[in-house]
């Protein structure tokens, strides 16, 4: 097992994108052809098939890439404690044993909660290396007063959260006000200091894939360490076409600046098969290096259970049931 993913090295996701000045030429020359993007993702499943032990290995890897999430109005401290427990021990050890994998090497990428639940999560994870991510800056709509949004991020950082998922103002994108978007994300960046920052684009509310691409570029220029599709609260959340557009933007940014920005699809990814598709897309478009928690996360709550069922099938040869796996 590589050391970078083994337990003990965690909470490593500090800021790594220094940002750059706003390049409006890159924004205005951005093109996305929807039909061509759809064709690419439509044939993806047919082009790469991951079977047998390869599939088991990929699914285990998928677990390490999950931001295990609860973002509900009825979240309570006990609920979050349960989530953290599951995050630290995501798969039954008998399953891992029969797959020949050391239990210590498998835990999720992070837990992801509201600011109000951060203290519970931090307390629950104790001395473990499980990163705690919070959604911030007026999540999910991002429409509270600007200084309060910045303040929320600062507070999360002060609490000791490892990662802050900020939301952008969709109105800046829809109005084509790239300068305003850049300034907003830069301000959040400043508020987060050296803490790892993911920028949530809420792609389901941006209208077009071109807007998704442009907003991706602006957020990366403003210093986002990750770009993330959705809050999970929009009516359309992560989709493969959106993912492809964002991954290509990340690639372009990487080639232009040398900075490797991460990607987090969130919302609606609940099946192991979907997770494999996203990972395949990442490997095909960006390469193996991006399939690490530093550069890729799934924002998901129920995905883990489906993966556990598939892993048990690998271990036993029998199809599994959800109730056989511990709740998060």
């Amino acid at each position: 097992m590589s050391s970078q993913t083994a337990a003990g090295s965690g909470r490593r996701n500090v800021r790594h994108n220094p940002g750059c000045s706003l390049d409006l030429d890159r924004i205005s020359s951005t093109r996305v052809n929807l039909s061509a993007v759809e064709r690419r993702v439509a044939t993806l499943a047919g082009r790469r098939s991951i079977k047998a032990q390869w599939q088991a290995a990929w699914l285990l890897r998928a677990i390490t890439l999950i931001d295990l999430t609860t973002l509900s109005g009825d979240d309570t401290c006990n609920r979050v404690v349960r989530l953290v427990a599951k995050a630290l021990k995501p798969v039954r050890s008998d399953i891992l044993d029969s797959l020949g994998v050391a239990p210590a090497s498998i835990r999720v990428g992070a837990v992801c909660v509201y600011h109000g639940m951060a203290e519970c999560a931090l307390k629950a994870r104790g001395s473990s290396d499980l990163p705690v991510a919070v959604v911030s800056t007026g999540f999910p709509a991002g429409l509270s007063p600007f200084n309060m949004r910045c303040e929320e991020a600062r507070r999360s950082v002060e609490l000791g959260c490892d990662e802050v998922d900020i939301v952008i103002s969709r109105r800046h994108v829809l109005a084509g006000n790239w300068q305003a978007l850049y300034e907003e994300v830069s301000a959040f960046r400043e508020a987060c200091g050296n803490t790892h920052m993911k920028a949530i684009l809420a792609t389901g509310e941006l209208g077009t894939l071109r807007n998704v691409a442009k907003a991706s570029h602006v957020c990366m220029m403003a210093g986002a360490d990750f770009i993330k599709t959705s809050t999970g609260k929009e009516s359309v959340n992560a989709t493969l076409p959106v993912a492809l557009v964002m991954l290509r933007a990340i690639r372009e940014h990487h080639h232009a600046t040398g900075v490797a920005v991460g990607f987090k699809p969130a919302g609606g990814i609940s099946r192991a098969k979907q997770a494999l598709l996203y990972m395949t897309l990442v490997k095909e478009e960006l390469g193996r290096a991006w399939l690490a928690p530093e550069r890729f996360r799934f924002g998901a709550s129920s995905l883990l259970t489906d993966i556990e069922r598939q892993l048990e099938h690998h271990a036993t040869g029998r199809y599994s049931a959800g109730f056989r796996h511990a709740m998060g």
Binding site: R31, A36, V37, Q53, W54, W58, G207, R210
Partner: protein, 794 residues
Amino acid sequence: MSIDVLFDSLEFGPAPESRTVADKWLQSHKHRFGHFVDGRFGKLDDEQGFESTNPATGAVLATLAQGTRKDVDDAVTVAREAFPNWRDAGGPARARHLYAIARAIQKHSRLFAVVETLDNGKPIRESRDIDIPLAARHFYYHAGIAQLVDSSFAEHEPVGVCGQIIPWNFPLLMLAWKLAPALATGNTVVLKPAEFTSLSALLFAEIVADIGLPNGVVNIVTGDGATGEHLVRHEGVDKIAFTGSTEVGRRIRQLTAGSGKSLTLELGGKSPYIVFDDADLDSAVEGLVDAIWFNQGQVCCAGSRLLVQESVAGEMHDRIRRRMDKLRIGDPMDKSIDLGAIVHPVQLRRISELVERGLSEGGHMYQRSTSMPADGCYYPPSLIAGVSPSSILMQEEIFGPVLVSTTFRTPAEAVELANNTRYGLAASVWSENINLALDVAPKLACGVVWINSTNLFDAAAGFGGRRESGFGREGGWEGVTAYLKLKGSGVPRERAKGRQPPSAATPRYGLSTIDRTPKLLIGGRQTRPDSGYSIVVRDPLGNRLSEVGRGNRKDIRNAVECASNASEWRRTSASLRAQILYYIAENLNARAREFTETIVNQTGVSETDAGREVEASMDRLFHYAAWADKFDGHVHGVPIRGVAMAMKEPVGIVGVFCPDEFPLLGLVSTLAPLVAMGNTCVLVPSMAAPLTATDLYQVLQTSDVPPGVVNIVTGYRRELVETVAGHDNIEAIWYFGSPRHIQKVEYASAGNLKRTWAVAGNKIDWLSPSRGQGREFLRNATEIKNIWIPYGEV
């Protein structure tokens, strides 16, 4: 490999498709197949078998029969016997058979896919997700055509027995493209699959026999080119449909010349893939995977010539190279493979040799950096940049996974480079600017254009080329007519009555009092013949009427030059062309009496008949003026979010030999549809009565016909036929006249594979409003270009 190692490496791993059922099928035939004729597999004699191998491994899959002349003869005889019942069964009955075939392909889809991949070497993903579903779709679509053909083509009937020869790159799909329209329209078929890849056709034969297709309707004779040649030469075959190389297509054109066989050819290509600076570059790069690395580049319409705008060329090439590094090459039965095996060592050698030869002429080659399978027949995906248009790599079809690239500066230069080829099959245009894309698409000399996409196929949209990529369309309504003919055509008709035989009496009208010197009409001017000789024109009694110029090779050359310079005609509005045709009719009307006299003088027909001919000629001009802005294209219902526009375009420069039967009506009947559709033409009038043509010069000149649109060269047909048919800048030839020249016309047309429409002049009822004019003429005056336009923004 252990899971914890894979957890780090995250390799894709093997994902092999099972071949068990396919092997069982081969075993059930003891790996030996005779021809499939009259609903049964014949015996396979040991001495005449040949082996079909798996190109990925070299292993022998089966031994097949090499079709002899006798085998072909037997199959044609059986198909001929089956024809009347199949034709008379009617469209709806045939529709049920086609529907059953479509269902059968779907029910056995995985077996077909596995057999195809074993035999051909293409990735199982492609046979499973593309070839087989498209083949099934083709039969479904044509079940619908069968249902509708009786009412939609009431004037037509099937051609008869069709000989169909298909290539090895899409074995079952090409079988479907050939069989479905032929069967739907009531023809019976003898099909020869390519010798490298016959197995899916034999599996198909077995399955259609099971579903109760009448015996003899579909016959399959296996074998190599010699078998194909027996089929092409066979006198009992009414039509040949061929898909394959331009070289073989040309040979087939020559072999069938003068035989009366109808012919469609779908040949090679060197299709441009044009990327403008405002394209979605990543999507354009991904498109290349489907353009040139689809089926190992062994695709007639592969986007094999990358033309990229200078300002983005460096970026584009970088992105292509990075994408190439992700391609996976290997066992075609692996579901995660992008490129499988090249069909045969012969083809692999051809690719290697061409690339080697081409690289000596310049260019930088990049090949994918990861490893290749050690054994089997493989060629790495390759990009050769910096290739000049003069390089053999830009000119010749490589038919392998090799992309060649050059740059352009402006849209006009892109079009020029794109059209700088003898081929004309397909093109891709990448730009996010709709003005640019839709401006460029019609200017490309080809049959299919994909905007922001590539290699899209559907049964509802016609496919086929221009120039040396062949002629005829497959798919859509436009593909149906290739398997139909007008009822009663091909049989001489008795319609020359209505005309009196030349009278023994002296013609009623005397000579003009002032001598006239008819010349040639070239480029809008009346010019003297290059030869300096004239031909005497006499009346039926032998009296000298006048003299006309004796046109020669050089006059034809000059006329074609002028027709070429007048090509702006194709871009004039249809309403303007209509106006001009009306104007010709108006001016003809003003001189109707004079034309009547000239016809009587030259032919000796009665004044009434001559007057009727002049009247009919004016009607004909009105007819095509009416059609000029109404012979619309289609928007096909293809399964994408977008449209496939079937645009009708002029053929280009058309050479015409006018019929002898009616000096004026024959001339007008050919000239008018060509002019109406935007063609320019070089006409050789009937020498039975050439003064009518020369009298028409003034009418044309006073009717605003732009110079060069209509050129008329009088002269001896025997001296001009081969010059016109052999001229590489003439794109089609219409020949109406003595059958003895038809062979020459069709044979010489093989040079640049020009479309030919050659019929004995007396087989067309020129006076008839249903047969002497209309859609048949308009179809021959146009080419159909399918422009695929996917759209969508949200």
